[in-house]
């Protein structure tokens, strides 16, 4: 078993020189990083960069080829998978779906659904939900476990751009309210900008890491996503210093701290 249950000085979960082989190919190569309590880390990379494989190894769903995954003792993880295909043949209400992850009284289920703005769907059949609603329900199932760490795989993939921004706002707000650590996988730096403390740029190995606005200027990032990515980002920042709520009202983005870029060699261990 590659998942060692040992404390990692203050960190919730840490990958240490982790390599994962999938289908004869080394998909994750010598990756080291940690997520601390209350910290939001974004895992960024193009398709096929090994983001989901890395997540699955962290969750203990895939064995490590080399290196290890360390978890804080008694760590509760709330995992939100990329997508959920619900067959109409299975009669399952939203509330019942949540209870499959963890037994809880109805009041707690309703309260958790309220956190993601889906309380009205408590008794609705799961297969009638839209893509965006399903994502929120998946998030609620992760939250119901009262997690110390949320692991979210492309949490806003199935929704339109506005929906994506709302989802990242929601995640940012929940992190603030609950104080849990968050690890988000995304293929789009624009989306993770506001809500994240640290970005890890992954392409098999970790290319670069640091605060989002500095990673966006890092040569490795530009090599991976092309110079267009940085230009898009500048335009995006200029025109969207705010976001819109459901009623179209202007919402402030969370404030951004000072920048710090580190190279792969320095991106090891807990902060």
């Amino acid at each position: 078993m590659s998942v060692a249950v040992e404390p990692v000085n203050g960190a919730l979960i840490a990958a240490e020189a982790l390599s994962v082989r999938l289908g004869g190919r080394r998909v994750v190569d010598n990756v080291s990083f940690a997520v601390g309590r209350g910290e939001t880390v974004s895992l960024l990379g193009p398709k096929g960069a090994g983001k989901t494989t890395l997540l699955r190894a962290l969750l203990g769903l895939l064995p490590a080829e080399r290196g290890s995954v360390r978890r804080a003792p008694g760590l509760v993880v709330g995992y939100m998978p990329q997508r959920l295909a619900i067959e109409q043949i299975l009669p399952l209400s939203v509330g019942r779906f949540l209870r499959l992850g963890r037994r809880a009284p109805r009041a707690k289920i309703a309260a958790t659904l309220a956190e993601v703005g889906m309380v009205a769907a408590l008794d609705q059949p799961l297969h009638t939900l839209s893509g965006g609603e399903l994502q929120r329900v998946l998030l609620a199932r992760a939250l119901l476990r009262d997690p110390d760490l949320l692991i979210l795989d492309e949490p806003a993939q199935q929704v339109d751009f506005q929906g994506q921004i709302e989802m990242f706002h929601l995640i940012g707000r929940l992190r603030g309210e609950r104080g849990c650590g968050v690890l988000i996988v995304s293929h789009d730096l624009h989306l993770v900008m506001g809500a994240t403390d640290r970005v890890l740029c992954l392409n098999g190995h970790i290319c670069c890491s640091g605060r989002p606005e500095t990673v966006s200027r890092h040569p490795e990032y530009l090599a991976l996503f092309g110079p267009r990515a940085a230009e898009d980002l500048a335009v995006y920042q200029h025109s969207h210093g705010h976001a819109h709520g459901l009623a179209g009202e202007v919402l402030p983005l969370p404030t951004e701290g000072k920048s710090a870029v580190r190279d792969n060699s320095a991106a090891k261990g807990a902060d």
Binding site: L61, P81, L84, I86, L90, P91, L92, G101
Partner: protein, 279 residues
Amino acid sequence: MFDDFLVRALLGGIGVAAIAGPLGCFVVWRRMAYFGDSLAHSALLGVALGVVLGIDLNIGIIATCVALAVVLLLLQNQRGLATDTLLGIMAHGALSLGLVTMSFVEALRLDLMSYLFGDILAVTERDLIWIYAGGAAVLALLALIWRPLLALTVHEELARAEGVRVGLVRVLFMLLIALTIALAMKIIGVLLITSLLIIPAATARRFARTPEQMAGLGALIGALAVVAGLFASLEWDTPSGPSVVVAALALFLVGVAATGLVAALRAGRRRVDSAAPER
């Protein structure tokens, strides 16, 4: 007022339907209809082996089904052959192997039709003990793994991440299917067992709001089909197994028609409402 053989047939049929209903729901939810069919086909090989080796036929069937399920599980992890191809090879391979083996045994050759299509009117007290004791065990074990099995049916990886022992639950579920096939074979025959798993479950879906309702309704609808099929078989001297399946099919079609009618009526009322002048 009823003959003994009829009482035994009714008890046996209802017992099997009560097991097949809940288990059939999972077969439907997990898209395992073809898998169930393949295992059922292999049951004939189990009968043949049971006779040749001189062991209890039920033991022979269960052992063969479990062995085949394990082989399937192992082969599924290999790449190269799609699962439906694999199942097709296994289903027809095992069925033909069973038929060939049976042709060497005189007594079995005469009984072939009853193994293929069931002979509910020949149910013995010993069969009933098997069905009710085995059925109670199957349902108890299913109740025990119900929650984790449902969780991994909805999303296997999420269930694993949340601590469900997926491998164990899947193996237990396969064992339950193998047991059910062994118990149901006498009643409905190897070729038609899957229909008793699938048709009542599919019929129940239209009237169920929770997984448990669907399982209970499935058992009820299956029992209804058994009773109706049995009396039809008696009345018109039709083969019992196919008669039960025809009854199940009829119930399914009634369900389709009923829900279609309700939907049409609702749509009609909505049209009338919207056409009515505002006050």
